[in-house]
Amino acid sequence: MENTLREKAKELLSSGEVGVVIGYGWNRKKTRTTPVFITTPEETDKLIFNELCVNNLSVYLTRKYRDIKKLGRPAIVAKGCDIKNIAVLISEGQLKREDLHIIGMTCEGVVYKQELWQGSLKPEIMPVKCHNCDVRNPHITDTVIGEKSDFVPPEEPTGMVFDKIKAIDAMEPSEKWAFWMEQFKRCVKCYACRQFCSLCYCEKCIAEKNTPQWIETSAHERGNLSWNLIRAQHLAGRCTFCGECERACPVNIPLNLINQKLVLTVKDSFGYRSGYDPEEHPPMIVFDPEDKEDFIK
């Protein structure tokens, strides 16, 4: 698999079809994978792909990384879940499909956090998204590498995140409030969730707008609440549940819960699943006169 990947990268770079291959490589101690940016055919041996490749590299295609754009037309090594984010970027006009070469990797799951890796991939160390994955054979690609996966996701999404959402839904408002305040209290406003997110590509984030100060910048409970709520709202109908924000969070705020809750809401209310069709408009910029609600009197 890795050899085919390297061959393909070499071919793309030497033919001049792409200027840079964005992929995964080893860190120095070979304990973790790290993003690599390959610009010459000689360097392609650095490229790897294995179960540790959990990062969502689509973030490097956004306008947050102008210096990478300068390297030329990119090719990206992407798993199915990363391609979902690319599809959203295309549907939002951030990218053109033809300006990008997607090397889709078939995937049998990755580890939730790289430090959990102990030599083999067990279901316990896989994130919830992998257990419910319907894109193990990547859906939008120029090249597919790897053996075809015959995994069929369960009919009803299962896993810790979905169980916890059900448990929270059943709580009283005061219990929910207490639960979330306990979580948000820890937030230190490092904005790692935003930096890791390939869909948080605004050049000026609402958190940086200060006339008036919309979101209080200090890491106190009140400011943390509005930051986390508004970030979730800004991802409504866009978030593909890649889980990078939660993985990046240094204080382990369960952001997957809040994002998946909105993914479910958007699916139930507007029948939309983000990341599958780059031609379709994101649900929050269109509307249906028949949208159903029961709370507006």
Binding site: I206, E216, R222, Q233, A236, T265, D291, K297
Partner: protein, 155 residues
């Protein structure tokens, strides 16, 4: 100072102590604001607890406004605009409705009591609906008491 005067003074202090909810209303210029205006010109009486902010359209109402109202001490929030299909800008309220559907779920999920946030469609001729809504919402929030959860957040 005679006795009757003293009594009235005490009464005033007691009235001051009673909880008067602060309710923030975000309304659209073309329908609900005109409806509230009609209630005024029609000399209809309603609870004075509502503070109205007029916006051009419900589509202008950012979910942050609701949070901002709570941050600044509101006990309840009212959001109102034109009925679907009546928007002055044709589609503003349809877009707003989508946003509210998502944001309402989000607020419920984090434990903000949805009896404190009310959404409504009120046209320029529905002064009576406006009066009823304000009265009902004020009464409901009076029963709930001040929004202490939000006010007690560390800042």
């Amino acid at each position: 100072m005679n006795k009757t005067e003293e009594k009235t003074k005490e009464d005033i202090v007691e009235v001051d102590k009673a909880f008067e909810p602060k309710i923030m209303a975000y309304v659209c210029n073309w329908c609900t604001y005109a409806g509230a205006d009609l209630a005024g010109t029609g000399r209809m009486e309603y609870r004075p607890n509502v503070r109205i902010i007029k916006l051009t359209c419900t589509g202008r109402i950012d979910p942050l406004f609701i949070l901002k109202a709570f941050e600044n001490g509101a006990d309840g929030v009212l959001v109102s605009g034109c009925h679907p299909g009546d928007c002055h800008y044709t589609t503003g309220n349809y877009h707003a409705r989508r946003r509210w559907i998502a944001f309402k779920e989000l607020m419920e999920f984090t434990g903000i009591d949805m009896r404190r946030v009310h959404f409504s469609w009120i046209s320029a001729s529905e002064a009576i609906k406006w009066v009823d809504l304000v009265n009902n919402v004020t009464e409901e929030i009076e029963k709930l008491g001040p929004f202490m959860e939000y006010k007690e957040l560390k800042r």
